[in-house]
């Protein structure tokens, strides 16, 4: 059995990253991967880089990283609601300004996917979807035949993605798997303050997906965010577990579960 730890969307939440990496260390996994979006939303974006390097985390480029690395004018999340756009701009401008040139150069070197072969299974790790870095794969808008199509096109038996901010796992009728590994950066709009990473155990016979909650000092993060004058709305999200911004992209089911 091979065990991997996977997460995405750190969004500069170095507090949660530290706790998650310590937890992963205790679980003796063979490898750790971050599926992209290191910065955004949170404070002091440069603080996550040394933690990732020290823990030898294999990192992919997410849409945010791709924007920062290429000096793009926005995060490529595709928001059009003026309120969502307002917050996305604030967040991107802050992160861009506070990410060092050295770290931006490093982001430029990151690949956009990893292919692994474990116990005869072909795994693809990517950020949004196998075909596009910023495609949102929500549980309620990803039907079986579409996921099967994506796996066919990618020549994969298992795909692991992030980007949406909410975890899910589907075993397809043909035995292949699709996993959204969740994010460490902010809670997943369920009214709790925990964030999540994923343990993937790959054996000959089967594959097991375990979602692991990470309880971290969100109040320390809130203090950092206030010190950096990041929006109150962001602080509310990490303190209550309810999303207050970027709501436009949520499909009906995911939106209906939240407070806003």
């Amino acid at each position: 059995m091979t065990r991997l730890a996977l997460f995405g969307g750190i969004y500069s939440n170095y507090h949660a990253l530290e706790v998650a990496l310590a937890d992963i260390e205790r679980r003796r996994v063979q490898a750790v991967y971050c599926l992209g979006d290191l910065g955004a939303f949170g404070p002091y974006p440069d603080r996550v880089y040394p933690l990732l390097r020290a823990a030898r985390v294999g990192c992919l480029q997410g849409n945010y990283d791709n924007s920062l690395a290429g000096g793009l004018t926005d995060c490529q999340c595709g928001y059009t609601d003026p309120r969502d756009n307002h917050f996305a701009r604030l967040s991107y401008a802050y992160t861009f300004t506070h990410t060092s040139e050295e770290n931006k150069a490093w982001l430029r070197t990151l690949p956009q996917n990893f292919r692994l072969e474990i116990e005869g299974r072909r795994l693809l790790l990517c950020h949004g979807s196998p075909r596009k870095i910023n495609e949102f794969l929500w549980e309620s808008t990803s039907p079986d035949q579409f996921l099967a199509y994506l796996l066919d096109e990618a020549d994969a038996d298992v795909a692991c993605v992030t980007h949406t901010g909410i975890k899910w796992h589907r075993k397809l009728p043909d035995g292949r798997h699709f996993v959204n590994v969740g994010v460490l950066g902010r809670p997943e709009n369920d009214g709790t303050t925990a964030v999540w990473y994923t343990l993937l155990s790959v054996g000959h016979e089967d594959l097991n997906v375990e979602f692991v909650p990470v309880e971290y000092d969100f109040q320390a993060l809130a203090r950092d965010m206030a010190r950096e004058r990041l929006p109150e709305e962001f602080i509310e999200t990490i303190s209550t577990g309810w999303w207050t911004t970027c709501l436009e992209v949520l499909p009906h089911k995911e939106r209906a579960r939240g407070r806003f």
Binding site: R89, P143, Q145, F146, Y149, E248, P251, E254, A256
Partner: protein
Amino acid sequence: MKHPIIALKHIDNLWFQVTGTLCNIACAHCFNGSGPGVKTFGFLTIDRVRDELETAISVGLKAIFFTGGEPFLHPQLLEMLRLSLDAAPTTVLTNGTLITDRTADELAKMERGTRYSLEIRVSLDGYTEERNDAIRGRGVFCRALDATRRLSQRGILPLVTVVRTWSEEEELTTLAGFVRTLRQAGYSKPRIKILPSLPLGRELTRAQARVASAHSAVASLAREQENQQDASLARPADAIPDESLLTEEMLVGFDLDLLMCSNSRLVTDRGVWVCPLLVEMPDARLGDRLRTAVPHYELRHVACTSCYHYGTICGNVSAQIEGPADATTAPDFSPARFKPSVLSG
């Protein structure tokens, strides 16, 4: 002039023009000229829907949309939605006026019973009765608001779609007006999608008259603002773009996924069309059935330019109004014009 030819990459989105062009109201800006007694296109049978669904599912369909006309005029719509939701997330585009308590009950039951999202898109064109009904007809405002309340009381949060008929300066106050109106009507978590108005159907004649007067207004405003900011900000968002047709050069480096023709098809009782917007264009008919339809299309219409400018107009997330991001070495982070607090009240 040679226009770009776009190949179908994959059928992500399958659209059914389920009631053809039959509608119980006649909106002033309707892009396909639907209305009472308009039978340019007719109803789809449930067998036809089932057959085309099977074809699309076999190639990996992602999402399904029902449009018209007014879809709730079809006596078998609910049955079709059950079929559809078994296979994929499903959206219905409606004016809301036919959503009774009983229909809302059925929709809510269906929504609870599926793992995929059911989106009910209710159109509204003004946040006051006066403004809305001038476009959509007398009494429509109250009936549409009733639908949003009925649905939200049952746990369905309809996506209220509004066609942008205001200037950028009016954007936030207008959106705040919609939010306030919907909340007052009993819809506590309103979701709003903004659509650009399209130079098609009835809107074409309406827009031509309006653009002429808007251009003269803009010209005088631009003179006033000469030394201030970009006069294009004052341009009405619904004016027909100056560049009327697409060229191959325009598509160099452009994300073709933003064009519906690369990932969607529309099924009507008269055959398969490239997209819902071009249903009045005979050259946009690609064949009788999905499995035999021509897999590419030459973009030769003004509506194609709208899709290019605004992005996937018909999807559930708003069109990409600002256009794709450009790579620069020094992004401009000048303060956003938006003041979101206006919307939080």
